[in-house]
């Protein structure tokens, strides 16, 4: 988002072109598609949607021999709590996404491209529709793009409001008009049996935008940004108890969590201490404010970090036991009731479980019921262990990664703040003993 917030920068095509927009597409259509793929591979760019899977590798898995049409799908369902970067790109710089998509579509020789946009983003939908129209008028998409002989159009499809539509096979089902029930893998890997059982690539908005820059500067140059294995920039969406929440783009590893909180976001509210950070959207494992993180990085270097020293990139956050996920950094200070925070997260995941497979459908609402009961004043000391055990029974046994997404918060909250869960139970038990009715502390629903 190089220009997006510069004064005078607008989201129409003329402004975009004035700033050099679509130069990369013009360059791309003169290249061989496989060379573009090679550049993306060399850039090492990793998916910005959450899993952090190398995009070049994903493209490589594409089944090109099937003879079936290939589809490109942009995942703009952005629904991980704490994440709000894709919306900014769509609102402020839609042509960057369109250009990135057309380059990508050309690279994988897609027959048709889709933008699956979250239903709530109706403004973004309108902006994209207009932008696509503008681009079509200038022959930047549609038939015979820039005289290259390659044709591809973009269809914007609005979701109907479900978190699971962001899961790539769920998204594909939804795009086909079905319930967004994720598919079993194997056999339904999108790269082979995706949309309409055709080879399909699903990439995040930010990832597709990165493709534009990879072509602009070359894969090698792009790989210079950040550290090896953590290339390019990332947009961190900071929310919670900081003075200046917002989205901030930095090169990977260019900034530590501490710098992000204190220097960029203006620090915590006066008089508060940092209690916990969820660094990659609500499904990422929580980091405790006073924790020490020690271990070895992939390349063998040992590290010993406090929470503020953690470099913001894929591998460092993973080494610290969490993940960079979708870039949604949720800051909690010491005013946070950790049980309530988890109850909030559990409520979300229980509400969003698609209900297809057993562990998630039954287990996640169970966890919600337990945490709800705990905040309602009926906590038991054994609830922490029970919650943890339920989460263990879900993670890794479900059709899609939702099982992990819903279990990791519980597992990490219990692992790091078990004392608070037990304390809450004791407090409430004491209060009951005194004969006081258990006061309902909050009502989440």
């Amino acid at each position: 988002m190089k220009h997006a917030d510069e004064p005078g920068y607008t989201n129409d095509i003329d402004c975009y072109i004035k700033y050099g927009g679509y130069d990369e597409l013009k360059k791309a259509v003169t290249m061989k598609p496989e060379d573009i793929c090679a550049e993306v591979m060399e850039s090492g760019v990793r998916g910005r949607g959450g899993a952090g899977f190398p995009a070049g590798m994903k493209w490589k898995f594409l089944d090109r021999k099937s003879g079936k049409p290939i589809y490109l799908v942009c995942n703009a369902d952005e629904s991980e709590p704490g994440t709000f970067k894709d919306r900014q790109i769509i609102h402020k710089d839609p042509h960057q996404l369109i250009e990135g998509m057309m380059i990508s579509a050309f690279a994988i020789q897609a027959e048709l491209a889709f933008i699956y946009i979250r239903g709530e983003f109706f403004q973004g939908y309108r902006i994209l529709e207009r932008a696509i129209e503008e681009a079509r008028e200038k022959n930047l998409l549609g038939d015979n793009i820039l005289g290259s002989g390659y044709s591809c159009d973009i269809i914007v499809h609005r979701g109907a409001g479900a978190y699971i539509c962001g899961e790539e096979t769920g998204l594909i089902e939804s795009l086909e008009g079905n319930r967004a029930n994720p598919r079993i893998k194997p056999p339904y890997f999108p790269a082979a049996l995706g949309l309409y059982q055709c080879p399909t690539i699903v990439n995040n908005v930010e990832t597709l935008c990165d493709v534009k820059h990879i072509i602009g500067m070359g894969g090698k140059e792009f790989a210079q940004i950040g550290t090896p294995g953590n290339t390019g920039t990332r947009t961190w969406c900071v929310s919670g108890h900081v003075m200046k929440p917002g989205y901030y783009e930095f090169a990977c590893a260019d900034i530590t969590l501490g710098e992000l909180i204190y220097d960029v976001c203006g620090g915590l509210r006066p008089g508060r201490k940092l209690k916990a950070v969820i660094p990659g959207g609500s499904s990422a494992k929580v980091l405790r404010g006073d924790e020490r993180f020690t271990g070895k990085l992939k390349d063998g270097t040992e590290f010993d970090w406090g929470i503020e020293d953690i470099p913001m990139d894929f591998d460092s956050l993973m080494a610290a036991g969490s993940m960079s996920g979708s870039g949604g950094v949720i800051i909690m200070d010491d005013s946070t009731d950790i049980v309530e925070a988890l109850a909030n997260i559990n409520y979300f995941y229980a509400h969003e479980s698609c209900g297809q497979c057993t562990p998630c459908r039954e287990g996640v609402p169970w966890m919600r019921k337990i945490t709800q009961r705990m905040v309602d004043g009926e906590a038991r000391e054994e609830d922490a262990d029970l919650l943890n055990n339920i989460a263990d029974q879900i993670a890794g046994r479900t059709i899609c990664a939702f099982g992990e997404a819903a279990s990791w918060p519980v597992q990490s909250f219990i692992a790091k703040f078990k004392d608070e869960f037990v304390e809450k139970a004791r407090e409430q038990a004491a209060r009951r003993k005194e004969g006081k009715a258990a006061a309902k502390e909050t009502t989440l629903i």
């Binding site: 479900a162 319930r179 079993i184 194997p186 056999p187 229980a350 509400h351 969003e352 479980s353 698609c354 209900g355 297809q356 497979c357 057993t358 562990p359 459908r361 039954e362 287990g363 996640v364 609402p365 169970w366 019921k369 337990i370 009961r373 029970l386 263990d392 029974q393 879900i394 890794g396 046994r397 479900t398 059709i399």
Partner: protein, 574 residues
């Protein structure tokens, strides 16, 4: 066939033992086949439906032999055998196809823990109303809970409440609280019955099975959803709350609705039938049958059953009626109206009676529209039997016009009618009044009312016998319940008549002895064939020249007349 099977075998390792299984089958089937009594528990997987993978009960540990990524060479352990790279997470057996060298653990701690977890999850919102649940005793959830359940509940929250009796259609009632959302019924309706009316609404733990708005689950296969429901969610409105299943006796039978001959099981107790369900036969009906076929047992208790041997309306014994019949038949000028509802054994006797009395045999066709699945155009179970026993040598006509002319001209004096209402088939009452009529049948009708001799017959549920279906498959059925008091099996009475007619002493013949006689008359039947020796899955007979007749059946679930004919024309073993 057998050669093909062996060449497609691959070696996989189940719990440390190398076994051979056919290539491409999934882990559930592989373990069932080669696991020596082991089972991978499952709910949503059904061998005849697409894979859904949603119940997560069949999780197993899976590993493949390790290869070095760079060189592609096998990675060996210290003993020199190839290392196994185990997947970090358990994988579902239903969607994992056996591949050479695959290793499977079906009982490791991780697998057990996964199953126990799934079982616990399925039970937390389950009403646990087994004492009043129709599925109790044949419920997968109940069985697996005993095996993989905790025995106590850690769930102290409130259970979800859902509707307990939703009418999905005229024959199916849904108890939503028991539903485990395995989607078998949804997939069956879509994939087999081709009537995509079922689906889930709402999300997550509130997901609910329902019909498409304004539609009902009313196709003629709706009760199969009840059969495949692994729990007590889909119940048969007819069978609901009637009987505990463990009291019921199961008897193998054959559906008489059409020439498909679906394999069935009759569930009865103390002489009363409670339900009919399909029995798996991959060559005939897979695991399905029609709703209409299931309702046929109700005829057993119908008001118009014939319950007495009579001569001129007066009750007689079987022996007296048999003697009376012999007397009439011996006088000559006999015609027989046979039936494709009779068993092969009975048809064999009618053929014998026809031969010794010089009778001309007619059969009446019962054709209707087929549904392309398990209800064929020919609504009789045993037309092929009538042809193979030689009772008739050409396809039946729709009415009995030529027989009527023969009666009118006085050429026929005695008419033996089997199970047909000839009065409704072109033989006017005044014609019938001119001759003597012997009626053999299960129900009364206008013909039976005016018949001089009446021989009550047993229904398929009440006797042993066999039919030959549309693809010339000989299939046997067994007696599930006794017939009306005092009624002998048809073959006993027919033996008395047939033996007397050919001047022999009637013998107490059992079906095995009878089949030794039948085997000498029908070339396609192996010489030493006994009734008991007919396999439960049936015996495919060579149709010989009969294959060239223009049968009315069109393509249905397991029968394609064109392909069948071609297969018969091809040299054997090819």
């Amino acid at each position: 066939m057998s050669e093909n099977a062996t060449s497609d075998l691959i070696t996989i390792n189940i719990d440390g033992k190398d076994v051979e299984v056919p290539k491409g089958i999934n882990v559930i089937e592989a373990v069932k086949m080669a696991g020596k009594g082991k089972e991978v528990p499952h709910y949503c997987y059904h061998p005849k439906l697409s894979i859904a993978g949603n119940c997560r009960m069949c999780l197993v540990e899976m590993g493949m032999p390790m290869r070095d990524r760079a060189t592609g060479e096998a990675v060996l352990d210290e003993n020199g055998s190839q290392k196994v790279g185990w997947m970090p997470k358990p994988t579902i057996g239903c969607a994992t196809n056996a591949a050479p060298g695959m290793h499977i653990k079906t009982g490791s701690p991780m697998v057990k823990e996964s199953r126990n977890g799934v079982t616990e999850f399925l039970l937390i919102n389950h009403p646990l109303d087994c004492p009043i649940c129709d599925q109790a005793g044949e419920c997968r959830l109940q069985e697996f809970s005993a095996e993989h359940g905790r025995g106590y509940s850690r769930f102290i929250e409130e259970k979800n409440v859902k509707p307990k009796r939703t009418r999905l259609g005229p024959r199916v009632t849904l108890d939503d609280e028991r539903c485990i959302l395995c989607s078998r019924c949804v997939r069956f309706s879509k994939e087999v019955a081709d009537d995509d009316v079922l689906g889930f609404v709402d999300r997550g733990t509130y997901s609910t099975l329902t019909c498409y708005p304004g539609k009902e689950l009313e196709n003629n296969y709706s009760l199969n959803t009840v059969d495949i429901c692994p729990v007590g969610a889909l119940t048969s409105t007819d069978f609901r709350f009637k009987m505990r299943v463990w009291f019921l006796k199961r008897t193998n039978s054959i559906c008489t609705e059409s020439s498909v001959g679906s394999n069935t099981e009759i569930w009865s107790r103390e002489g009363k039938i409670y339900r009919v369900t399909p029995r798996r036969n991959d060559a005939v009906n897979d695991t399905w049958m029609t709703d209409s076929g299931r309702a046929l047992y109700k005829e057993v208790e119908s008001e118009d059953r014939l319950t007495h041997y009579t001569i001129g309306g007066v009750h007689k014994t079987a022996d007296e009626v048999a003697a009376g019949a012999v007397e009439l038949l011996q006088q000559g000028d006999v015609a027989i109206v046979g039936s494709a509802h009779s068993s092969v054994e009975e048809q064999f006797y009618y053929k014998s009676i026809a031969d010794s009395s010089g009778a001309k045999v007619s059969l009446v066709s019962h054709y209707a529209e087929g549904d392309g699945l398990l209800q064929s155009e020919d609504r009789t179970p045993n037309l092929r039997g009538a042809l193979m026993t030689g009772l008739i040598d050409q396809l039946p006509d729709a009415d009995l016009g030529s027989l009527a002319r023969d009666i009118d001209s006085g050429a026929i004096k005695t008419l033996l009618v089997v199970n047909e209402d000839v009065a409704a088939l072109g033989i006017a009452p005044d014609l019938l009044a001119k001759i003597k009529v012997i009626y053999v049948g299960t129900q009364t009708n206008d013909t039976a009312k005016d018949a001089d001799l009446v021989i009550p017959s047993l229904m398929v549920f009440e006797k042993d016998g066999s039919f030959i279906n549309q693809s010339f498959r000989l299939q046997k059925f067994k007696s599930a319940v006794p017939g009306p008091a005092g009624i002998q099996p048809d073959v006993m009475v027919l033996e008395k008549i047939a033996a007397s007619l050919s001047g022999e002493q009637p013998a107490a013949v059992n079906l095995d002895q009878l089949w030794q006689r039948i085997a000498t008359k029908i070339d396609a039947v192996p010489e030493a064939q006994t009734w008991r020796g007919i396999p439960d899955e049936g015996l495919a007979l060579e149709p010989g020249t009969l294959v060239d007749l223009s049968f009315v059946e069109t393509k249905n679930l397991k029968y394609d007349p064109v392909a069948f004919k071609e297969a018969q024309a091809a040299p054997a073993g090819a």
